[in-house]
Subunit: 646 residues, 2 copies
C-alpha cells in the first residue's frame, strides 16, 4: 500500500494494527545516494566502518521507507503480509526544511526502477527528529500566547503610500457595497502585504479579517473577509491555533511510525541493513554522533531485536549454496531445492505477492527479504527436526544471527558483522602492515618488496600509503626486521598504525585518532539537535573520554578528495565488492594479489602509474577513475554489482 501525505493520517491506525499483530517486521529504505567521499577500507574496524558511513552517507536523504509486517493467520495456517511504501520528504513549514545531498547515479537508478520523484516531492510525508519536535512544540506554544497582543507598526515609505490608500479605499467600498464576503488583493510583494495588513487592521479593526492565501503555485495574495458575527474573530484565532497543531502533527509525520516500530520491540529484519538503521535513527529519532559505543547502545535500545538476512545467508548452512547474496539472487536461490519459499498471502491492496515483482520499491524489497528470512528459518528448523512455521527471536535457532548487522566491505577480512548485543569480532591483524612508499611505486613494486614473505594482498589508501596483508601469516614475525633497513619504505604493524594498545582494544579515543577525527561538530542534512532523551527512556552515556559532538556542517575532515563512481546494488546499499568475491584462497593469491584489491585512486586500464609525474595527478587519476570502469584491477575484490569492465 502506497502511503503519501494525503492518506497518511487515515492509514496510521492500519499501520499500528499491522505492527501490533505482526510476528516480525521487515524494513527497507531507498536513499538519494550511497556514499560521498572515501569508502570503507577492507581493514577498517567496525567502529571505523561506522564513522565512515556517518561521514559519507548520512548527508543523503531517505526517500522511501518500506515496512512489511508478517502476521500469522491461525485459520489459514500461513503468514500474511501487510506492506506499506511510505514516500518521505521533509517540508519547510512548519517543520525544518532540509538541505541534503544527492548522488546522480542513485537518482538515475531509482528512476529506472520506476520511482516517482515528482510524487515524492509533492506528496512526500514529512518527519522530524525528537529534539526538533520538542523545540517546535515549545515554539508554537510560545508564539500562540502572543496572538492577541498588538504589534508595533512599521512606517509606510512614500513610494507605497498611494497604493496603500487605494487599497484601503477599495476595502471600504467592498465593505459598504455588501455584495460579497471576501475580496482579494494581489500583485504585492511580501513587504507591501505587511504594510497593507497593518493598515487595514488599523483602519478597519474588527470589521474585517485579513489573511494570506497561498495559491497552488506558491504565490501569495491577501484575502479580506467580512466579519459578520463577533464570534468570527474569536473563532478565527481558535481555528488558527487548531490549524497550527494539525500542521504540527502532519510535520511530525512518519516519525510516529518509526517510533511505533521501536516501541513494539518486535523482531526487525532487513537485508544488509546497516545504512537503513543509521538513516532511520538519524532521520526519525536523533542525529547520530561519532561515538560508536553510544551508537550501538542507542540502536539496541531503539531496536532490541534485529536480524540481517545478508549476514544470515553468509553463514553455514547457506553460505555454500548461495552463489550471490544480492537480494534478488538470494530470493531465487532460496526458491529452489534444498530450500523453499513460504507461501505468504495478502489481502487486496494491503500487501505484495511474488507475481508483482517491483524490485527496488522499498516495500517490495522488504517483502522479499521477509520471504528469504522465512525460507532460511524453515530450512534451519527442518534440519533440526523442529516445527518450521513461526520464527521466535528468542529461539536457539535464531540466536547466532540476532543483533548482528553484516559488514559487506570487511567481511572477507574476518570482520563480517557489527554486534549490537556484545563485542564485535576483532580478528588478528598481526599479518597486516601499514606501508609508506614512494609515490612512483606500483602494485608490482610492493609485491616485490614483500616477495621474501610470500604473496600479499594490498589495499591502497592513497598515493603513498597502503595496507598490506600477508597470505602466509606465519611469515609476519619476519617482516619488520626484514624491511626495517629499507630506506625507501616505512612499515608499521597494524595495531601501531591504528594507535591501538593491543589489537583488541576498544578505547574510543584511539579509534578516533585512527580515523583522524577532530571534535568538530558536524551535521547531517543540516538539522541541528540537542541530546534529549528518546521516549524509550534512553540517555546517551556520558564518558569523560568521549565528548558528544553535534552534527553541524556537511563536510568532514575524514573525507579525502577521492571521488569514486558509485552505483547501487540491488541489495540497496553500495557497491558490492568483497561480499561478492569470495576470499581468495592462499594458493590463488599469487596471481590474485596483483588484482585483489582496488587501489583507492585507481589506475586507468593499461596506463602505467610511471607515466604520472606530477603531484596533481592524484586528482587527475581520480577523475580518470570516474570514467574508467574497465580497469581490471577493480575486478576481484572490489567488484561492483553493475560495473562494466568490458
Amino acid at each position: 500500500m502506497e502511503v503519501v501525505k494525503k492518506n497518511f493520517k487515515e492509514t496510521l491506525p492500519q499501520v499500528s494494527a499491522s505492527i501490533e499483530k505482526a510476528d516480525f517486521l521487515v524494513i527497507d529504505a531507498e536513499f538519494t545516494g550511497i556514499i560521498n567521499g572515501r569508502d570503507v577500507l577492507v581493514f577498517d574496524t567496525p567502529a571505523e566502518y561506522y564513522l565512515r558511513l556517518l561521514n559519507g552517507s548520512t548527508q543523503f536523504l531517505l526517500i522511501q521507507f518500506g515496512l512489511c509486517a508478517f502476521y500469522y493467520d491461525e485459520e489459514k495456517k500461513m503468514y500474511m503480509n501487510d506492506t506499506y511504501n511510505f514516500y518521505l520528504f521533509p517540508r519547510g513549514q512548519p517543520g525544518p526544511e532540509k538541505i541534503f545531498m544527492c548522488q546522480s547515479s542513485s537518482l538515475d537508478f531509482l528512476v529506472a526502477q520506476g520511482f516517482d520523484f515528482n510524487k515524492l516531492i509533492r506528496d512526500g510525508i514529512s518527519y522530524m527528529t525528537e529534539p526538533i519536535e520538542t523545540k517546535l512544540r515549545d515554539n508554537i506554544k510560545e508564539r500562540q500566547k502572543t496572538y492577541s497582543k498588538e504589534k508595533d507598526p512599521v512606517n509606510i515609505p512614500d513610494e507605497h503610500k498611494d497604493f496603500i490608500e487605494e487599497t484601503c479605499k477599495n476595502v471600504r467600498s467592498f465593505l459598504d457595497d455588501n455584495k460579497s464576503d471576501e475580496m482579494e488583493i494581489d500583485r504585492c510583494n511580501s513587504f507591501v502585504r505587511l504594510l497593507i495588513y497593518q493598515e487595514l487592521k488599523l483602519r478597519f479593526k474588527d470589521e474585517i479579517i485579513v489573511e494570506t492565501k497561498i495559491l497552488e503555485n506558491k504565490s501569495r495574495l491577501l484575502k479580506v473577509l467580512r466579519v459578520k458575527l463577533d464570534s468570527d474573530t474569536k473563532s478565527h484565532t481558535t481555528k488558527r491555533i487548531e490549524r497550527e497543531w494539525d500542521e504540527f502533527e502532519e510535520a511530525v509525520g512518519f516519525s510516529k511510525v518509526a517510533r511505533m516500530i521501536s516501541q513494539s520491540e518486535k523482531l526487525v529484519v532487513g537485508h544488509n541493513m546497516l545504512l537503513d538503521v543509521i538513516h532511520t535513527l538519524n532521520h526519525f529519532f536523533q542525529p547520530l554522533t561519532d561515538d560508536y559505543k553510544a551508537f550501538k547502545e542507542f540502536t539496541h535500545c531503539m531496536f532490541p531485536r534485529i536480524l540481517d538476512t545478508k549476514y544470515m545467508s553468509s553463514l553455514p548452512p547457506f553460505k555454500e549454496k548461495v552463489n550471490s547474496s544480492v537480494l534478488p539472487h538470494l530470493l531465487q536461490t532460496l526458491s529452489e531445492p534444498p530450500f523453499a519459499l513460504p507461501n505468504v498471502g495478502s489481502y487486496e491492496g494491503r500487501g505484495y505477492s511474488l507475481t508483482e515483482a517491483k524490485l527496488h520499491e522499498a516495500g517490495y524489497d522488504a517483502y522479499i527479504t521477509g520471504l528469504c528470512f522465512l525460507a532460511m528459518h524453515s530450512h534451519l528448523t527442518r534440519m533440526r527436526g523442529e516445527d518450521t512455521s513461526r520464527p521466535d527471536p528468542n529461539s536457539a535457532v535464531l540466536k547466532p544471527f540476532l543483533n548482528k548487522i553484516f559488514l559487506a566491505k570487511t567481511a572477507h577480512q574476518d570482520s563480517p558483522y557489527m554486534n549490537f548485543d556484545g563485542d564485535d569480532p576483532s580478528p588478528s591483524r598481526d599479518h597486516v602492515f601499514h606501508l609508506t612508499f614512494p609515490k612512483e611505486w606500483m602494485r608490482n613494486d610492493i609485491n616485490l618488496l614483500f616477495s621474501p614473505y610470500g604473496p600479499v594482498m594490498t589495499q591502497f589508501v592513497d598515493d603513498t600509503h597502503a595496507w598490506v596483508a600477508l597470505t602466509r601469516r606465519d611469515q609476519a614475525r619476519h617482516v619488520l626486521r626484514g624491511l626495517a633497513a629499507s630506506a625507501r619504505v616505512t612499515v608499521r604493524p597494524y595495531h601501531v598504525q591504528k594507535g591501538l594498545k593491543t589489537s583488541r582494544s576498544d578505547d574510543l579515543e584511539q579509534l578516533k585518532r585512527a580515523c583522524n577525527m577532530t571534535n568538530v561538530p558536524r551535521s547531517r542534512s543540516q538539522t541541528v539537535a540537542t541530546n534529549l532523551p528518546s521516549p524509550r527512556v534512553w540517555s546517551p552515556p556520558r564518558t569523560e573520554k568521549v565528548s558528544r559532538v553535534r552534527a553541524n556542517s556537511i563536510s568532514s575532515p575524514l573525507q579525502s578528495p577521492t571521488k569514486v563512481t558509485r552505483k547501487r546494488t540491488s541489495s540497496g546499499v553500495f557497491q558490492v565488492d568483497d561480499s561478492e568475491s569470495p576470499p581468495p584462497k592462499k594458493s590463488e593469491l599469487d596471481q590474485a594479489s596483483e588484482e585483489a584489491l582496488k587501489k583507492e585512486k585507481f589506475v586507468a586500464n593499461g596506463r602505467r602509474k610511471a607515466s604520472v609525474t606530477s603531484g596533481d595527478e592524484t586528482k587527475e587519476q581520480k577523475i580518470i577513475e570516474r570514467f574508467d570502469s574497465d580497469s581490471k584491477i577493480n575486478c576481484v575484490s572490489a567488484f561492483k554489482e553493475s560495473d562494466s569492465w568490458d
Copy 2:
C-alpha cells in the same frame, strides 16, 4: 521547445542557427537550491558577496537552462523568439557523476510550478566542464590503445568452478546446435561475469563475441554472439570505439550550447542574474575559485556583453514607477502605460507567446525577461526621440546598464551592482561601525547606546557582533570617541574591521581576511578540475598575492552554523529582502530601526532574548527561526517574497 537527451543532438543545429541570427540572447536557470548557510550581509562588499554565493550556492545543481534568442524579422518588422528549455542532469557514464545538494523548499516550489523531476533524471542532458572534458578525452584515447592487448587472467575460485564449467558447456552447445546467433547468461554478479568472460574468451577465442547487455532496469547480463565472419570481431572493436566517442559527445552535451553562447559574443540578458552566471561558469566552463578579480575577468571574457534587467529596472526612469521588480510584477508594470510590451512573435513549437504563461519554466522566464528588456529599451529610446526597435549593446542608451549585475542584498546600502567592466561602487562606509556587545543585549540596547548620535540601523552578525549604521552620517566622527570608554562594548570603524587600508582598497588578501577565508581547497558539486584555459584563450591571471585554490570539498570555513529557511522568489534567486523594501528615510528610522534589519539568529515573535540564558540557545533560537516566520523583525529590510508573517 523542450530539449532533453533524446532530441539534443538533432536540435543542436537549430540552437546554433538561433544564436547566429539573434540580436540578443536571454538566459534563465532553475536550481535545486538557493543558498546553504549564511546569507549575504547588507554591508558585504561585492567581493564578499561573490564569496558567500560561491560557498553557499554552488553546491546546488543547475537543472534547467532557458535560452531565448530574440531575432528581428525584417519583413514583419518585429522581433521573433526561439526559446529552448534544456533539462540538464549529469550522468555517471562516461562523464563524471555528480554529488550535489538540494534544498527541499526549492524542490517543493519547482514541483508546484509543474517541473518534472522524473523527466529531469531520466532524460536530462549531460554536461561537463572543459578540464573534465579534456581529461576524459585523453583517458578514452589511452584506453582504446589497449583493446587488442591481452589481459592477465584472474583465477577462478573453487566455489564458482561448477557454474563456469556448466556455462562453458552451454555455450559449446549453443555454438554446435547452430540454431540462433546469440544467447544470454544471467543471474551472475559482476565478479562471476568477469570470470565467465575470461573463460569464454580463452576457450572459444574467435568463435564468439562476449559483451555486457544493460537492461532498462540497469541490471546486467552477458550476451554471447556467434562470430560468422572474420570481420565480425574487427568491426566489433571498431563499433565499440565509435560508440565510445558517441557517448563521449553525448556526455559533453549541453556544455556545447554554453560555449556557443559565449563564442557568439552576443548581448546576454538576464534578470537578477548573478547566480545564473556563477552556475553557468561553474557547471559548463570551469570551476570557480575564491579569486574575485579572476572571476570578474573570466566572466567578462566568456560573456563580454551582459545586461541585468533587475538592475536596469532599479534605475531612473523605471525606479519610480516599478513597485516591485520581481519578474512577473515587472512584466505587469511594463505592460501598462507609460510603458508597453513589444509584440514578439514565434513559429509554432519554437518559442513562447504571452498567452501561455509558464512562470518558472526557465525558457519562459527568459522570454519574459526579454520582453521586459525590450520594453525598457523602447521607453528609453522613445524618451530620447530615437528609433525604438532594435537594442544595440554598443549604444549610448544601454551603456549605463551594460556589464553590471544587480546585487539584491546590498543594493539599499549603496552597493547595487557588480561591475564586470570596471570598478565596483565602493560607497562610503564612514558611518558604519562594527560592534561587539554582551550576549544578553537586544536591539533596544544597541539603539540606546547609539542614541546620542541619532537613529541607527543594525544588522546582527551573531550573538555578540553586529554592524551598526548611523542615519545621521555627520555624527560619525563623534562615535569612536564617545563610545571608547564603554567597558561593555567594542566599536570599530568599518574599514578597520574589514581589514581594508582605505575604504576603497581592492587588495584581495584583505578581502579574504575580511571573509575569514583560508586557503582550503573546496569543491562545488564534487568535481575536480585543473586550471586549463578555455577555448576563448583566457588564462586566469596569476598573482603572487592570491593563490588559486581548487575546489575540493563541499563545506567551507565560511559557513556559519546558522540555518535559515530559504524560499524562492519568482525572480528565481533567493529571498527578496532589501530590494523589495525601499531604503528607509531618515525620519522613519526612529521606529524602523528596531525592526529594520533581520537579526541573523532571529528571535521568536514576542520572545525576548533576555529569557535566553545559556550559550546553547543560539542554536536553539536558530531552530526556532526555521519555524517562526511570523517574527515581525524580519519584515522590513529582510522581507522574503513568499514568507508568511501573519
